[in-house]
Amino acid sequence: MANIYFDLTREFNARGTIAILASGQAVVYYRLAMMSKDGDWIVKETGDACGTILAVLDRHQARYRPGAPLDPRWLSGGWSSHFEFFDDRRRRIRCDFFSRPPKVAAAARDDLFATASEDPLAVIGIEDLILMKRTQSAKDYAVIGELARRLPPAREIEFTTDVDRLCELAPGFTTGSQRPTARVALEGPRDSVVVALARETDQLQQADHQRLRRYEAAAREYLAAFRKADIQDGPLAAAHETACRLAEECLPRDPLGLQG
């Protein structure tokens, strides 16, 4: 399989896995939908990995977009870095990077790179992809339902967003489940499952919104300084240096206390 985002993944990982393709392009990889015009990657939280990625992006004449520096000091606080370039057909390529995928536990995050295969097209696993897809966007919950179908039933019941599948799976697989909605599916009429699932989805959407609001507020001063400095127009190495300097001045490294 080859598209620009798959090819970039192979470039990033040519000397070992440092970037794992996630979100919309992972959905394409799993052949579920044409989800996203952009690519996003979970990057290994090291200076070397960030340097390698910056070098690849520089070969493509990428430019920084307003966002955190691609540097472990900010990535480890959950920040994301954003870049853009145009391919040889003048198509816009947007590349987004972060090292702390939301809702993915620290141990699972560490495993991403420890257990990565030698295939340079490294793609996030289905369960972690589902966790990342628990966003504000309603369409992501349809994708979660389809992704969950790829899991064994005992795991599908933990994630499915399909009312009918929940009701089908509940009699056989609720015992080991920690999911309240699965227990409703075992005990209640279908209508109560519909309501429980809607509530669960709304809670996930609200939690994601609150998380992003905190980053948006914490980034305000830095993004204003970033735009004023015209970083987007300069070559990548100089832009990176300026972004780091500005971030030291006014981008809190860890607004949610992730570095603990």
Binding site: M1, A2, N3, I4, A22, S23, G24, V28, R31, L32, A33, M34, S36, K37, D38, D40, R65, P66, G67, G78, W79, S80, S81, H82, R89, R91, R92, R94, D96, F97, F98, T135, Q136, A142, V143, G145, E146, T161, D162, V163, D164, R165, H209, R211, L212, R213, Y215, E216, A219, L223, R227
Partner: protein, 57 residues
């Protein structure tokens, strides 16, 4: 219950080459809406809006 359309689910039946061509065509068409896209679709800045265009005096 089907959660995605047939157009999406049909991707599973494609060969790698067919999927690559389909994605390429889709990506070409998707360029038409670049100017209307939100500034961020991933990461933690999704709620950040593009600054208003500067007015010329």
């Amino acid at each position: 219950m089907k959660l995605l359309s047939e157009d999406d689910l049909n991707l599973a039946a494609m060969s790698d080459e067919e999927l690559d061509r389909a994605w390429d065509l889709w990506f070409d068409l998707a360029q038409e809406t670049n100017d209307w896209d939100p500034p961020y679709t991933h990461g933690v800045l999704v709620l950040v809006e593009a600054p208003p265009p500067e007015r010329s005096s």
